[in-house]
């Protein structure tokens, strides 16, 4: 709902207004009347729907019908409001279900076993996609947009809160930020306990915690990784509520006062989750240079999906940036340890037990995104494996305690991770025809067109309308393509035998110094790209040289192949790691600052950005700083801040970079409170992305893809030359693929 408020709302459909007045009048009718009307309306709608879905139409009527539906959709798209969304969804479902009905009844007529294998494979993939589409609509059509409850009680009635910061191998410089920020959360000091749970049992952490007066908790083993760590800490603490922050998720100072209100309002509430906001770019944004222009991968989930889950009381825990009620958590046995996504599993258990879970779409903590693609992939592998484990061991469709909405939402969350096989099928399906000549689709090309195109267009349009602010069109395919190959095996194994596989920790922070192309990681994409290029080549040859009999089919397959090439080459682009000179990501911010120079003069200016180590300043026109000049900075607020010692690093024109000197802990804490802990920094840039425009998204993705193909070519040349030179210089027995890993 913050996202909603940040954008000028489109016109709500007038029809919705009319229906609402009708509904108001309708609810005043006597009950019998209303029931009768509802039943008869329902029956009529069901019959109508059935008729529409199953009516066999010939080519032209289907084309006309599709055109009409699509035009209506385009018109309705301009309006906002629930009714418009529901209508779009209905039309999209009509198109897709018609397509599926026709697909299943008319096109599965195969001649050879080869055709059958490919054909059924494709149908299964399509069924999966349809199922996910339907569930997705259910999940996201009606986001709850929960608003925070303001605390009515006086501070002396506020409950005690334990803040857990589990850490294993993160550097102290990263965790320090979280600890200092947690300590400066606006909450009565006696009721706020901060605990650092160190599974690495490191001395410097212990010393640091002692210096600033937070608790330091360790255990003598590392069983069950983070879940075990949290459970052990639960045993030695006693706060009424528990807030959990990952070692790099810095909370704002308003975190508790924004989240705790709902716990008072609803005694049955066990969990309140807030979004994970990233102030550094993830590998996609970094390597494709789309930071802050294209919404990142997590924004769909945290901006829309969880909000939709919230309507059905199916919000699930994401491991960090959440508050839980201790009594309810202990009732389900603490954090779940049976799977590697202990967070989602815990929420499932809570829901089964009958507790409520809630979501607030206001970012009140921010962290670092994964550094490079290989870390990103290992994180997603863990999530996929865990979800598959839950699917197998604690399936939401079975067992009691969940209502239908919750079952669908959890199921969709898990099924989302099964996209690997279907995605790979979609990426290779046209090659079956182009290379092997298999007839996997028993229908004329034109029929295919008039059925498939509405299905694709409607789903794209509807998804763009629902998700436009959180995910641009076609990027879904890119994300899936990047991860599909890697999560396929873990998911399959987890489905077969859930107890296999270990928890691999995603490490955060660090510098990638040079640019390099991650050949090893990019191998699957390169293979797919090559296959598709091959198919394109063969198909073009056939098109040009062959007879005109199968032109339409060839065209369809070629277009599909081209689309696949664009997607896969974008995936290749992600593997080209750019260098990251600064290890400290900077947060844009506009704070008024007074700079005292060593000669006694001072001037006021604003910051451009800040990081843990320093700030960037917008200097006034007549002032210039010399490098290595000593300065004192104070942030102008009421009351004014202390003076922070700093050194000027550089000065280009109006822009200066300033690095903070070593400061006592008190000043460090104050600095964190004034910069990272500001309540509105993350919320103000949330959901502010460009709205989706499918055509320009396609252009963007194509552009990235083409550049990637060129880049791949260049990288091949460069690394190939290097390899040849190495071969000619030192004939070593070392495995050459290992050499090619880092340039």
């Amino acid at each position: 709902m913050t996202a909603q408020l940040n954008v000028r709302p489109a016109q709500t459909w007038r029809l919705q207004g009319l229906l609402e007045t009708f509904h108001a009048r309708f609810s005043r009718w006597p009950k019998r009347c209303r029931q009768g009307l509802k039943i008869s309306a329902g029956l009529m709608a069901a019959l109508l729907l059935l008729g529409i879905l199953t009516a066999p139409l010939d080519l032209y009527s289907q084309a006309a019908f599709a055109a009409v539906c699509f035009t209506v959709s385009l018109i309705i798209r301009k309006h906002a409001g629930r009714l418009a969304i529901l209508t779009l969804i209905t039309l999209s479902l009509i198109a897709s279900l018609r397509y599926m009905y026709w697909r299943l009844t008319d096109t599965l007529d195969f001649d050879s076993w080869l055709d059958a294998v490919f054909g059924y494979g494709l149908v299964l993939a399509e069924l999966y996609a349809l199922l996910v589409l339907v569930f997705g609509y259910v999940q996201t059509a009606w986001p709850l947009h929960r608003k925070p409850q303001i605390l009515q009680q006086a501070p002396d009635q506020w409950p005690t809160v334990d803040i857990f910061i589990p850490t294993y191998n993160e550097a102290l410089s990263i965790v320090k930020l979280v600890v200092l920020a947690s300590q400066s959360i606006d909450w009565p000091e006696a009721k706020l306990r901060v605990h650092v749970l160190d599974d690495g049992r490191r001395e410097e952490f212990r010393v640091f915690c002692e210096q600033i007066g937070v608790n330091y908790i360790t255990r003598d083993n590392n069983q069950h990784a983070k879940a075990g760590n949290l459970n052990e800490a639960l045993k030695v603490t006693d706060g009424e509520f528990i807030a959990i922050f990952d070692a790099d998720h810095v909370p704002t100072r308003s975190f508790l006062q924004v989240s705790m209100g709902w716990f008072f309002k609803d005694p049955n509430l066990a969990l309140l989750q807030t979004p994970h906001f990233f102030y550094s770019p993830d590998p996609f944004e970094k390597n494709l240079d789309t930071f802050r222009s294209v919404p990142n991968e997590g924004e769909l989930f945290y901006g829309l999906v969880q909000d939709g889950n919230d309507l059905w009381n199916a919000t699930f825990f994401c491991g960090s940036c959440a508050v839980m009620r201790r009594t309810h958590l202990l009732e389900v046995g603490g954090i779940a340890t049976e799977t590697v996504t202990e967070d989602a599993h815990t929420a499932l258990k809570l829901n089964r037990r009958g507790f409520n879970t809630a979501y607030l779409a206001i970012p009140q903590a921010a962290g670092l995104a994964t550094e490079n693609l290989s870390r990103h992939i290992s994180q997603r592998i863990r999530w996929a494996r865990g979800m598959a484990q839950i699917f197998r061991t604690d399936n939401p469709l079975l067992g009691k305690g969940l209502n239908l909405g919750q079952r669908i939402c959890y199921l969709n969350a898990m099924m989302h991770f099964f996209y690997s096989l279907p995605r790979l099928v979609f990426l290779t399906a046209p090659l079956a025809y182009l290379i092997f000549g298999a007839q996997i689709f028993h229908a004329s090309a034109l029929m295919v067109t008039v059925y498939v195109l509405p299905h694709i267009f409607h789903s794209s349009l509807t998804n763009s309308s629902i998700q436009g602010r959180f995910r641009h069109s076609f990027w879904n395919e890119v994300y899936e393509s990047v991860l599909a190959w890697y999560i396929m095996r873990p998911v399959l194994f987890a489905l077969i035998n859930p107890s296999l596989g270990t928890f691999n920790v995603t490490d955060k922070g660090g510098t990638t110094e040079k640019e390099y192309f991650d050949w090893k990681l990019a191998r699957p994409y390169i293979v797919l790209l090559t296959l598709n290029m091959l198919g394109l080549a063969i198909g073009s040859v056939k098109l040009i040289g062959g007879d005109g009999a199968e032109v339409a089919t060839l065209m369809i397959n070629l277009v599909w192949t081209l689309y696949n090439i664009i997607i896969v080459s974008t995936a290749v682009a992600v593997a080209s790691e750019s260098s990251q000179i600064r290890s400290e990501p900077r947060v844009p911010a506009d704070l008024p600052v007074r700079v005292h120079r060593q000669d006694g003069t001072w001037f006021d200016c604003t910051t451009q950005n800040f990081s843990q180590k320093g700030v960037g300043l917008n200097l006034p026109d007549d002032t210039r700083l010399c490098p290595d000049e000593s300065l004192q900075l104070s942030i102008l607020c009421t009351p004014p801040s202390s003076l922070f010692p700093a050194t000027a690093m550089f000065n280009h024109g109006n822009v200066a970079g300033v690095q903070f000197d070593a400061m006592p802990l008190r000043l460090q804490s104050e600095l964190v409170r004034l910069t990272f802990s500001r309540a509105d920094t993350w919320a103000s840039s949330w959901g502010n992305g460009r709205l989706d425009a499918p055509m320009s998204a396609l252009r963007e993705v194509s552009r990235i893809g083409l550049r990637a193909i060129l880049g791949l070519f260049m990288a091949t040349l460069k690394d190939g030359q290097a390899l040849l030179r190495k071969r000619s210089n030192t004939p070593s027995p070392i495995d050459s693929t290992a050499e090619m890993h880092r340039s």
Binding site: Q632, D661, L665
Partner: protein, 389 residues
């Protein structure tokens, strides 16, 4: 540019007011990293060490400014900043009695600082008074002796034909304005500390054709930066006086806060005549030595130092005895005794000028005679001129 309240912005973004939000700062009392105010105690100690024999001497620094600018991780860094101050606030002590047993680092550092200041002092040219007007600095060792009262009295009584009499308040207490005018308005010198500020234009009219420039109300940051400027530039006040373009018929009276501090140091560096106000009690007497030391080490060429005994009570034998001791001690340096008169105090309360309201009271008479003495000191070749009634 204003600091936008982050919590207000956040709450507004979801349509609520932040009225009920409780802002709770963390208390830093549990923080121990050994890097905190060691430097603070060191610098404050220097100031108090300057006049060690004054047991009850109140050497007030206006508003203990937390010298956070001097907190650093290493002592070297603190040294770097401090030694850029040319004129020492802490006067070099010829015979210093090390009073407190300071921890080793502090002592060593303060000695280094003093040495450095001494070298600077001997090496650099003394700040020269440059303006042609006659400048009188009113100083004292203790507080509450009546500097502002005497300064205001002189400003009203010292009228010179054809010249202006301007009283400038260097005391953050900002009391001079109340003595000289019923109306408080306008910016003071704390808002006018830039070199190009026009002090002449901002002088406000006071009683008896006097003018005054108040200290002004400023924030702690303003005061900090004013003091920084004064530390840095011992000529600061001189330059401002020059910029006022005064003639030799004009008189400037400088009211300072008690003790040896950066403001009174600036006044010393600019004055032709320094009037030390004392009262007839033990605290003032005991402070005489150290006051003398401070004046001596700061003395400029052709600068005169005189003493004024204020608030003397003829009815009490103790006061009479003390004034006798002062006379013996100071001899001809004690130029005037002002008897205790409550009229002066009450006039301040009732916003009226005592020299006009009750000129016959003994306090006013004594002020007139003081003014005569001062005039004689400043222009000994002139005959005793007219004094303002």
């Amino acid at each position: 540019m204003k600091y936008v309240d982050d919590v207000t912005k956040l709450f507004e973004s979801f349509g609520e007011t932040a009225g009920s939000y409780q802002e709770i700062q963390p208390s830093y009392k549990n923080f121990k990293d050994g890097l905190t105010p060691l430097a603070t105690s060191m610098i404050e100690q220097d100031f108090t060490e300057a006049l060690p024999q004054a047991t009850t001497a109140v050497f007030l620094l206006d508003a203990p400014t937390p010298p956070l600018l001097l907190i650093g991780p290493h002592m070297e860094r603190a040294t770097n900043i401090v030694t850029s101050l040319p004129s020492p606030v802490t006067a070099p002590l010829p015979n210093e009695a090390t009073t407190a047993s300071t921890p080793g680092d502090n002592q060593r550092l303060s000695e280094l600082l003093r040495e450095l200041n001494q070298i600077r002092r001997d090496g650099l040219p003394m700040p020269r008074k440059q303006t042609k007007a006659k400048v009188i600095a009113i100083v004292s060792a203790n507080g509450g002796v009546g500097k502002s009262t005497v300064a205001a009295g002189l400003a009203k009584a010292l009228g010179h034909p054809g010249g202006r009499t301007i009283a400038i308040d260097l005391d953050p207490q900002n009391a001079l304005a109340s003595h000289l005018s019923a109306i408080k308005q306008g910016p003071g010198l704390i808002q006018l500390k830039q070199p190009d500020a026009d002090w002449s234009a901002h002088c406000l009219p006071g009683y008896c054709d006097s003018e005054y420039l108040p200290f002004g109300a400023g924030s702690a940051n303003d005061r900090r930066s004013l003091k920084l400027q004064m530390f840095e530039d011992s000529d600061w006040l001189n330059q401002h006086l020059v910029s006022m373009n005064l003639s030799e018929n004009d008189t400037v009276i400088l009211d300072t806060p008690s003790g040896a501090n950066v403001y009174s140091q600036q006044a010393l560096d600019a004055a032709d005549l320094v009037l030390v106000i004392t009262v007839a009690d033990a605290a003032s007497y005991l402070a005489l030595d150290t006051m003398a030391q401070w004046l001596e080490t700061s003395r400029r060429r052709a600068q005169q130092h005189r003493y004024v005994l204020n608030q003397q009570e003829g009815s009490r034998s103790f006061s009479r005895d003390m004034s006798l001791l002062f006379q013996r001690r100071l001899g001809s340096d004690l130029i005037s005794t002002i008897r205790l008169d409550h009229q002066l105090n009450e006039s301040l309360a009732y916003n009226r000028d005592p020299l006009q309201f009750s000129p016959d009271c003994i306090g006013c008479q004594d002020i007139f005679s003081l003014a005569r003495m001062v005039r004689a000191l400043l222009a000994p070749d002139l005959a005793d001129g007219q004094l303002a009634p």
